[in-house]
């Protein structure tokens, strides 16, 4: 790792933002290069774990015990229940774009069913020539695809619609998004086998959970890029993500990607299920509401620094975060250290994938004074992540779904960050 030369440390935007070439040329963490102690002429030393063979192999891996704070928290469920709520991805402790499966967020409506795959069937029926059923073993024999894509609950970031800033962190505010490699069977293949009738326009998907959770999905999306997912990050889906099979709708609000998929009924209209009318609909201040807000809007959040991750003192830091859009790839991300007065373009990691998390990074020379960090993303359609004021315009009180306004973190002289509105 080479040392940055002094020209790299000239700010390109207010309050210490440095040019992104600091990362592009020297690699990550150049500004805080690891110190490797080496006393010339001293006896070689061994830490305790180098003085005896380590533990043996195991059939399944686990994170270091020193990382046991990296968990899905906070967890919350409806009163009197343990399975009607959410657990959140700890974005502030993660890097890259893949969410480890054990840390993928959860939103369940009636707990996680324990499904014996030999006794589970997917039934395709309704406006088809031949109702058919498939089990997981059979689906594994079909042509499959895999893609690295995000899944986001439409309530994610909704805490920012509160009239006053909540005392939250990346997980509690934005932790209802995760990204995985999803593998499975293109749903169009199965519908074709069943024989679509011309009057079919929607598909009502329902799960094998205790709520038989159901959503109506336009047939157009089903034929475009929907899959029956069997795999997540290379292994079979976990029970908390729909084992043995789930619907996966790239870029669309997570609730519609029905887990534990049990039935797909082709219909001529939406069923107007509870979770597409009473919930997940967007109420405006004028009393009118919108149904079927499907693609998730372009959004980004700085994950480091962020609340809970205090800066050690003045110096050069990496600002890092994730950006995503339900309508395609991220085109660019800008960051600000002065509350949005000036902006610097962030570097994007190599993997800029459609409907996936994109990791961005910027270099920042913190002078120890107050700073307000913001990020804003632009997607390939040209859509720009809105300010909070813009994202709030026209919303009814407590209308919190599909919020994609910018997140501001205020850094105080002690190096701590908190959620603020600008």
């Amino acid at each position: 790792m080479s040392k940055p030369d002094q020209s790299d440390l000239i700010p390109v935007a207010g309050n210490g933002l440095l040019h992104r070439r600091l990362f592009l040329r020297t690699g990550l963490g150049a500004g805080a290069a690891m110190l490797v102690a080496g006393r010339v002429g001293a006896e070689p030393q061994r830490p305790p774990w180098m003085r005896t063979p380590g533990t043996g192999m195991g059939e399944s891996g686990a994170p270091s015990p020193f990382e046991d704070h990296v968990v899905r928290a906070p967890v919350g469920s409806q009163p009197g229940t343990t399975g009607a709520g959410v657990s959140r991805t700890p974005l502030q402790h993660l890097d890259g774009i893949i969410t480890p499966s054990r840390l993928h967020f959860e939103r369940h409506h009636s707990g996680i069913p324990e499904i014996d795959p030999d006794r589970h069937r997917l039934v395709i029926h309704g406006l088809v020539d031949r109702p058919l059923s498939f089990d997981a073993e059979t689906l594994d024999r079909y042509p499959q695809v895999s893609r690295i894509q995000f899944l986001e609950c439409s309530g994610n970031s909704g805490a920012l619609t509160a009239p006053e800033p909540v005392d939250g962190n990346c997980a509690s505010i934005h932790g209802l998004i995760s990204a995985s490699e999803w593998g499975g069977v293109p749903l169009g293949v199965l519908l074709e086998e069943a024989g679509l009738k011309p009057e079919g326009k929607w598909v009502v998907a329902a799960g094998a959970d205790a709520a038989a959770m159901s959503r109506s999905v336009p047939l157009e999306k089903i034929l475009d890029d929907a899959i029956v997912a069997l795999y997540q990050n290379g292994e079979r889906l976990r029970p908390s993500n729909g084992y043995p099979m789930r619907l996966f709708l790239p870029g669309w609000e997570g609730n519609a990607s029905v887990k534990w998929l049990r039935t797909l009924k082709v219909t001529d209209a939406p069923a107007m299920a509870k979770d597409e009318t009473s919930k997940y609909s967007d109420l405006d201040a004028d009393g009118q509401a919108r149904l079927f807000t499907f693609p998730m809007g372009v959004k980004s959040v700085i994950t480091s620094p962020s609340p809970g991750l205090a800066l050690a003192g003045p110096g050069v830091y990496q600002i890092s975060g994730v950006a995503w859009s339900g309508r395609g790839r991220i085109r660019s991300v800008e960051v600000s250290a002065d509350g949005g007065v000036s902006w610097a373009e962030a570097a994007l990691d190599e993997h800029v994938l459609s409907r996936c998390l994109t990791r961005f990074r910027a270099a920042w020379q913190w002078d120890g004074g107050p700073a307000t960090l913001l990020s804003r993303a632009v997607d390939e359609t040209g859509a720009v992540q809105p300010t909070r004021a813009s994202a709030m315009a026209g919303r009814a009180p407590e209308s919190f779904y599909h919020y994609n306004g910018m997140q501001a973190w205020a850094v105080n002289p002690e190096g701590a960050s908190r959620n603020v509105y600008v």
Binding site: Q78, P79, G80, T81, A84, H109, S110, V123, H125, R130, P131, L132, S133, F134, T138, R141, Y142, P143, G188, V189, L190, E192, E193, G195, L196, P198, V204, A206, A210, A211, A212, S214, P218, L223, D224, D225, T263, K265, T267, A271, M272, A273, K274, T277, S278, D282, L283, D286, G287, Q288, A289, R290, L291, F292, T293, F294, P295, A396, P397, E398
Partner: protein, 180 residues
């Protein structure tokens, strides 16, 4: 390998499916391993109720019968008369949506009465879903609509009368899909 490559091309897949949608399905496109189902096998897993009433089963109930069901199965979470408890308020709030304190309930917000039946039959009561008889689901649906002042307490709901119920906020929604 031939088939794998074929399915890697989305445009080809969509083209093939659009043909299928117009009744020109090519039998060779799929391994064809789906197991055909009889009508009764489909009926055993089909819970979909449409806003126009398609999918509603035979049976009936009214608000008087529904009160008993509600008190026994629902009140502990949703409060007396659906006014809310530990969990969602189900009644009242009609006319509040455009105010500074919108109250979203079945009566004030939900656009279709059939959704109540569909959801209760699927998911309620929370700790014992599927435990209510069809008549009980109709009855508790009638009770909730009556508590909201939408139907008379003597009104018997069944597959014919439930979809005919006009909800106060039925005109309160537009569709965000398809996008412009």
């Amino acid at each position: 390998m031939f088939m794998y490559k074929r399915w890697m091309a989305p445009s080809l897949m969509v083209a093939a499916l659009m043909m299928a949608a117009f009744g020109q399905a090519q039998a060779a496109e799929s391994p064809g391993l789906g197991v055909p189902l009889s009508d009764s096998e489909v009926a055993a897993v089909d819970l979909v109720v449409m806003p126009d009433g398609r999918g509603l089963p035979a049976g009936s109930g009214d608000a008087h019968q529904g009160l008993d069901v509600y008190q026994r199965e629902c009140r502990i979470c949703h409060g007396d008369g659906g006014q809310g408890g530990p969990n969602d308020r189900l009644a009242g709030g009609i006319g509040s949506l455009a105010t500074a304190q919108p109250v979203k309930t079945i009566g004030s917000y939900w656009p279709y009465a059939t959704t109540v039946f569909d959801y209760v039959r699927r998911a309620m009561p929370y700790h014992l879903p599927g435990s209510l008889s069809t008549d009980e689901v109709y009855a508790v649906t009638a009770y909730l609509l009556a508590e909201n002042g939408i139907i008379e307490r003597d009104r018997v709901l069944d597959a014919e009368t439930l979809p005919a119920v006009q909800m106060p906020n039925s005109g309160g929604f537009s569709w965000a899909w398809p996008e412009d």
